[in-house]
């Protein structure tokens, strides 16, 4: 989940990283009061979860409180890429001697966070990496072991920063890295990180993205920031298909059958159990398959709920077949899921043997499940067939059908 800039700045501030004396408001009159308190030129920044803010006129500079109020009124009324602003951030216009970049991002390949630093800030780090690769320092670090300041020192020093600046930057980068781990972030970025005329450093902008599944662990922080449970803060709005998935999951309290994400492929997926969904989704892709969706099923959902999910996927335009697969071995009852997916086929007038490309859910009550699958002629696999092999078979079948 993404944070607005004013929230990200608050998180940075709480981590002990110096920030400007900013204020957030939803009211133009209050923006004026904040500007008066700041007592000098200010920047009015629209608080939206989308890019292109500056270009769209969502960032305005004001020399007086009156100007700040007028700009705040305009910015509050300005939609950017279809997003109405949450409010405005009123920020002192800092006299910056140099802009730097500090960030931490999750590296999904290495499965470790990586800290990134550059003495060239204020622009996209990707651009710096392309044009001045020697000005970007990187270092992976453990998200389990304690983090030493030495790691940050290596990264910052590798970009040629020395002396007093190095000494002041190391604690900032270290705190950012610790914040990243402590708050289950997938991105924690300060850009620009400004060096002021007096040599001190201050975060001038911040972007934070938290792992969505970690929201429960950070309830107190989210409550402090006023982030409600109803705010998904995803990169895009949920599609009607995804909203329908939420309804299926909310159908009753038993188990999980939802967390649906829509894709464009022809192989519908009913997948899950203990992280199995991600592995299976990747397995389908690596076999050359084209998933129609991602989803999660597990924890012993009711037959009705399993059927609801399978029906939703089966009815998705473009879906030719579904693959029903779960992790290595699951405690979710095989017979219950088998009933659910077969019932979905039958109620939609499909032949389960035709529509279910493969059923691979080893685990509880599998013998009973296999009796049901046998009865309807559905191809199934037990635990002797790997997740990847099951995915390959499903892709092969749909390839043959296409």
């Amino acid at each position: 989940m993404r944070f607005f800039e004013y929230e990200a700045r608050e998180i940075v501030k709480r981590a002990g990283i110096p920030v400007t004396d900013f204020g957030f408001t939803t009211d133009a009159g209050e923006a004026r009061a904040i500007a008066e308190r700041i007592g000098g030129p200010v920047v009015i920044k629209s608080q939206v979860l989308t890019g292109g803010r500056m270009k769209a006129g969502g960032v305005q500079f004001a020399d007086t409180p009156e100007e700040a109020e007028a700009h705040a009124r305009d910015v509050l009324a300005l939609e950017i890429n279809g997003h109405a602003p949450r409010g405005v951030l009123v920020d002192p216009k800092a006299e910056v001697a140099q802009e730097y970049y500090a960030g931490v991002v999750w590296d999904g390949i290495r499965k470790q966070p990586v800290m990134i630093f550059s003495p060239v800030g204020g622009i996209d780090i990707e651009q710096v990496a392309e044009e001045q690769p020697d000005k970007v320092g990187r270092r992976h670090f453990s998200n389990i072991l304690p983090l030493s300041e030495f790691a940050a020192k290596e990264v910052v020093a590798s970009t040629g920063v020395t002396g007093s600046a190095l000494n002041k930057l190391v604690p900032i980068v270290t705190k950012l890295a610790r914040l990243f781990v402590a708050h289950d972030m997938t991105l924690a970025e300060i850009n620009p990180l400004g060096r002021l005329a007096d040599g001190s450093f201050v975060a001038l902008d911040a972007h934070m993205d938290m792992e969505n599944e970690a929201r429960g662990r950070h309830r107190a922080l989210l409550e402090d920031l006023g982030v409600g449970d109803e705010e998904t803060r995803q990169a895009r709005e949920a599609t009607p298909f995804e909203l329908a998935g939420e309804e299926v999951d909310a159908m009753d309290h038993r188990g999980v059958a939802g967390n649906v994400t829509e894709f464009d492929g022809n192989l519908g997926l009913v997948i899950g159990a203990g992280g199995g969904s991600l592995t299976l989704f990747d397995a389908v892709r690596s076999s050359g398959g084209d998933p129609a969706n991602y989803c999660e099923i597990g924890g012993n959902p009711s037959v009705r709920k399993a059927a609801g999910l399978a029906k939703l996927v089966l009815q998705k335009p473009g879906v030719d077949k579904i693959a029903v697969m779960m992790s290595i071995v699951s405690n979710t009852r095989v017979d219950i899921v088998a009933r659910g997916v077969i019932k979905a086929c039958l109620e939609l007038g499909f032949d389960p043997a035709e529509k279910i490309a493969i059923f691979r859910i080893p685990g509880a009550w599998e013998d009973e499940g296999y009796k049901i699958l046998d009865r309807y002629g559905v191809e199934y696999a037990d635990r002797s067939v790997s997740l990847h092999e099951a995915a390959r078979r499903a892709v092969e079948k749909i390839g043959a059908a296409a």
Binding site: S302, V303, R304, I336, R339, I342, K343, I372, R375, Y376
Partner: protein, 79 residues
């Protein structure tokens, strides 16, 4: 009385359908609400039949042979 869904059928012999104590007991023990106490009469809730988790609690709660759970996917095998 017998009712069938897609996977599960349940049969309650006529001799006990009017047993108010049994009707209450079956409604209480079934974890997936297959039985309802319809004013002292045993009723089978058809839309919940396929939710049966084969726990046998209804069989244990009723006099032997009066309630039967049938696995329709297995040729009507009795639980």
């Amino acid at each position: 009385m017998r009712k069938d869904a897609t996977f599960i059928g349940v049969e309650v012999t006529d001799a006990v359908t009017g047993d108010a104590a049994l009707a209450a007991k079956l409604e209480e023990v079934c974890p997936v609400d297959i039985y309802a106490d319809a004013g002292g009469q045993v009723d089978i809730v058809e839309e919940n039949l396929d939710e049966c988790v084969l726990c046998r609690l209804c069989l244990d709660a009723s006099p032997e042979g009066t309630v039967r759970v049938l696995k329709l996917y297995e040729g009507g095998a009795v639980l």
